[in-house]
């Protein structure tokens, strides 16, 4: 292992996250390497400062680490699934694998630090006295409680603190401009276990995709969703904007990467219908589709290229 690799392990070492063997190996190396020893001392000093500031962090929610790891794991899953996404020229500046990893890590760390430093709870603790009995009963009657844990229990006073997740039936009415409506729909789009929910969210969002955040959500669905039906519906919702730069880039990505020929065909049809026959664009289209195994796609591109000269 190189010094650089050892130095990467120092942070983990300070947080006691190294395995026994790795820890032993690092300690041995630190004894013999002045450079790494210096790095260790420096990191340790930083660690001490952070530890001093950590006074008052006792009430860190127990599920924070789980949530952060889940967020990171979700990002990594997506990166793994769509490895080819950042190869797309229009996005390559932003989405390199390393940057995605860094971003994911930063998101997780930011989340953690944000909570720690501001000492905010992700879920405010409700007490029996500060919530009306009716609303509590309604919540418990209609809701589903899962992952219930006893956070604190005092047998003397009989006081307990419970934590868990409550899901309950939802009916909400509002306009698409309403942030709550949008957030509910965006949330449905992230429901990995329910493609039907995602499809319906895409259908509703497609009704009014003029807003940037909605457009972004649809692009996300087009590029990342596992379900072909959802991707196709997202594409249908976006196709009238196929001349806009980022939508066009997403369609080009679909053209190059989507496994379903029908979706690639819909992408090429939309790109050709909504973009002028500019030779530069024709060239990039030709490049994107020249190796496609579908004769229709190759043929359409040839027509576009031929008539754009």
């Amino acid at each position: 292992m190189t010094c650089k690799e050892y130095q990467h392990q120092i942070t983990l070492f300070l947080y006691d996250e190294l395995s026994e063997s790795a820890r032993f190996e690092l300690e041995t190396h630190l004894h013999n390497c002045a450079s790494c020893q210096g790095a260790y001392e420096s990191e340790k000093a930083m660690h001490s400062v952070l530890a001093e500031d950590a006074i008052g962090w006792d009430d860190i929610p127990s599920d924070l680490l789980v949530e952060s790891r889940k967020a990171l794991a979700d990002q990594l899953d997506r990166i793994e699934k769509k490895r080819s996404w950042w190869r797309m020229p229009a996005f390559s500046v932003v989405f390199t694998p390393m940057r995605m990893l860094e971003s994911a890590a930063l998101v997780a760390m930011g989340l953690a630090l944000g909570v720690y430093v501001s000492n905010q709870r992700p879920v405010p603790v409700q007490t029996a006295s500060n919530t009306g009995q009716d609303s509590q009963i309604s919540l418990l009657r209609n809701g589903t409680i899962s992952n219930l844990q006893v956070v604190n229990s005092d047998p003397v006073t009989g006081q307990v603190e419970l934590a868990g997740e409550v899901s309950q039936p939802l009916r909400f009415q509002g306009k698409m401009e309403d942030d709550t409506v949008r957030n509910l729909l965006f949330s449905a789009l992230r429901d990995a276990n329910n493609p039907g929910s995602r499809l319906k969210a895409v259908e509703v969002l497609s009704q009014k995709p003029t807003d940037e955040s909605i457009e972004e959500a649809l692009i996300n669905a087009l590029v990342y969703d596992d379900d072909a039906g959802v991707r196709m519906r997202a594409l249908e919702g976006l196709k009238k904007f196929a001349d806009e730069q980022h939508v066009r880039a997403a369609f080009m990505h679909t053209l190059q990467n989507d496994d379903t020929a029908g979706i690639r065909i819909a992408a090429i049809d939309a790109l050709m219908a909504h973009n002028s026959k500019d030779p530069a664009f024709a060239k990039s289209l030709e490049e994107a589709a020249k190796n496609d195994d579908n004769a229709y796609i190759r043929s359409k591109v040839l027509q576009f290229v031929g008539t754009s000269k």
Partner: protein, 373 residues
């Protein structure tokens, strides 16, 4: 010299204009029109009256025809590169009392009404067809498929587009990876695999599966439906019903025979309207999170077994128009709750008319309602 000038002139002419090439074959009733179009769209107008098939392609591609008594075939040696001058269209005019066998390697297919069968295939374009009196197979790797009524069997496939067909006189098979399926009345059985919603007005036996979206079948002899996320509904099922959704409701407005249905999250509502009260009318309804509601006739012989796995706080869990053994007494709306109500599942049994058809109703969280029809 004159010859050289002539040649240059001819080649200039050739590069300036697209020649329309024609081909023509006499055709008899019931013959098969075969078109193999390596490039371009194929359009077949079936209004010709003179027993002749005309083909015209707006390009310099060379047409080849092969005219026989039972079949006429048109093809070309054109390559993909021939399309750099723009879209090519094969315009075919033929009488309607023929069979069609068309392949457009890279374009759309559009045909009128035909009295014979229709086999229409393309690598990517859409397919539109009028009425087909024989069997029909319409297959594309990409675009949509739209057809009028098909008197024989129907097979519609697309990797991406939506499939729409009117009534089908025989059996039907629909497959699309990312599109919807919409069909009218199908006399025979149906196998439908969709990427999104499936709507069928009426059919014989139906086997419908979709990855995402609702399944709605108006009337069917028998239904076997599965969706990974969406509701399953039927106005009337004349025979057995099997249905599963990962998330969504299942609703049967009129079920004539046995019913097996499950949903991960959603409600199940079944109205049992038996065609034969002495037939197999068992029910197995399982909801993860959601209510289960059944309506059964007064004279049904049944052994009902109802379980709410995780009873909701203070809610009535099993509501029945029939006397149920073990049914919990009415709950106070507020106040002290008997402890033993929350330790385990609520479970009730009942024998209707001395027992018989096994009716198993289960929800992990929700309520069960048993109503008299």
């Amino acid at each position: 010299m004159i010859r050289a000038v002539g040649l240059i002139g001819a080649s200039l002419l050739a590069t300036t204009f697209n020649f329309s090439l024609f081909a023509k074959c006499p055709v008899s009733d019931g013959a098969t029109l075969i078109v193999r179009a390596p490039v371009g769209d194929v359009q077949v107008d079936t209004t010709a009256r003179d027993g002749v098939v005309d083909v015209q392609v707006d390009s310099s591609v060379q047409l080849q025809e092969n005219c026989n008594k039972d079949s006429v075939e048109f093809t070309s040696n054109a390559s993909e590169q021939d399309q750099t001058r723009g879209a090519l269209v094969w315009r075919v005019v033929a009488p309607r009392n023929i069979n069609l066998d068309l392949v457009a390697t890279s374009g759309n297919i559009n045909v009128g009404d035909v009295d014979g069968s229709a086999v229409l295939r393309t690598a990517g374009g859409s397919i539109t067809a009028g009425q087909v009196k024989g069997n029909a197979a319409m297959i594309t790797q990409g675009g949509f498929v739209k057809a009028g009524n098909i008197s024989g069997d129907a097979e519609l496939r697309s990797q991406g587009g939506t499939l729409e067909v009117g009534d089908v006189g025989g059996n039907a098979e629909f497959h699309t990876t990312a599109g919807q399926i919409r069909a009218g009345t199908i006399a025979g059985s149906v196998t439908a695999e969709g990427g999104r919603a499936i709507f069928i007005v009426k059919a014989g036996d139906v086997k419908a599966t979709t990855n995402a979206g609702d399944i709605s079948i108006g009337d069917a002899a028998r239904i076997d439906a599965k969706t990974a996320g969406g509701t399953i509904t039927s106005r009337r099922v004349r025979g057995p019903f099997q249905g599963h959704t990962e998330s969504g409701d299942i609703r049967l407005d009129s079920a004539a025979a046995w019913v097996e249905a499950s949903t991960g999250a959603g409600n199940i509502i079944v109205h049992l309207v038996p065609e034969n009260i002495d037939g197999d009318l068992h029910m197995d309804l399982q909801a993860g999170i959601g209510d289960v509601t059944i309506y059964v006739p007064q004279r049904l012989k049944a052994s009902i077994d109802a379980t709410v796995q995780r009873p909701a706080f203070q809610a009535q869990q099993i509501i029945s128009d029939f006397p149920m053994n073990g049914l919990a007494p009415g709950r106070p709306a507020q106040g002290l709750i008997p402890n033993n109500r929350y330790y385990g599942p609520t479970h009730s049994e009942s024998l209707l008319n001395g027992g018989g058809n096994k009716i198993t109703l289960h929800t992990s969280l929700g309520k069960i309602t048993i109503r008299r029809q």
